[in-house]
Subunit: 156 residues, 2 copies
Amino acid sequence: MRLSTKGRYAVTAMLDLAIHDGKGPVTLADISQCQGISLSYLEQLFAKLRRDGLVEGVRGPGGGYRLAKTAAAISIADIITAVDEKVDATLCEGKENCQDGDRCLTHELWSSLSTQIFEYLSAINLAEFLARPSVQAIIERERASQAGAEKMVMSS
Amino acid sequence: MRLSTKGRYAVTAMLDLAIHDGKGPVTLADISQCQGISLSYLEQLFAKLRRDGLVEGVRGPGGGYRLAKTAAAISIADIITAVDEKVDATLCEGKENCQDGDRCLTHELWSSLSTQIFEYLSAINLAEFLARPSVQAIIERERASQAGAEKMVMSS
DNA sequence: GTGATTCCCGACTGAATTGCTCTGGTACTG
DNA sequence: CAGTACCAGAGCAATTCAGTCGGGAATCAC
């Protein structure tokens, strides 16, 4: 269980998809431009998200990515474990029993804590997260600035 | 806020110190042997822990490290931030307002989540963690094997 | 069909970080 | 003073991060 910028990119992008859920797929180019990260790097992240069945791609013009499940069925933990391939490859994978016997605490103490963080993140799904007031405020602010830039779209 | 093996080493070592709290300092050589990591690496970690006022060293024979505060006054978050110097240096440090205006979710969504994890880890202190049944079970098992190896100590 | 758009896939790279070693100190105690 | 233990810094192999490049394959508009 790692918690790095890689996971942040993935979570933010997934939230982006969740917002546009039901309103057509979102292209990686848009996410790339908005988040300020390279398109190829995003492609690598989404390849993992796709392998884990979290998103599905729609090819061709007007295509992009959309959520493969409902927003409520995708947890933050799902996203992070998908991209941050968990390397809990501890030195002693359960077999070590600390046989020198003096003062020893094995990794079990840590994994106990790590599991709790994982369960905590598992309890948060995209739909619930988006419904939070603090998050809604950001989205509303986004929507306001989006209306201001609507002249660029010229379709609707 | 990162969550890697570095933090795990530190937390596990600090739990080790908390268990032996009041029973004399613990040497790094012991922790090094038991956790299976190098002594110099441990020294680096403990240098950071000491700089943050979490532990204090006792020099000379019979010396070692002990907690600088009570176990209840040290949270897991304290330990992790001490060794895992937080690099939440996001690209746009609050000033970016995502002005291309289309579909954009900034780092604020992530930091909202990151803050919650931090607060969650802040709420757990060493004393409370050690008092948990699952952790106590491990300690008791340790103590049993320690009694088995008591012949090596020959002092008590 | 043709071409444009978009996803898909793999390899490669420079920089940073991790985990660790080595060397040489300094402070304290018996 | 000799041994134990902390303190400090350079350095190093492996891994990861973030990104680049180049080429495919599916889909839609025409």
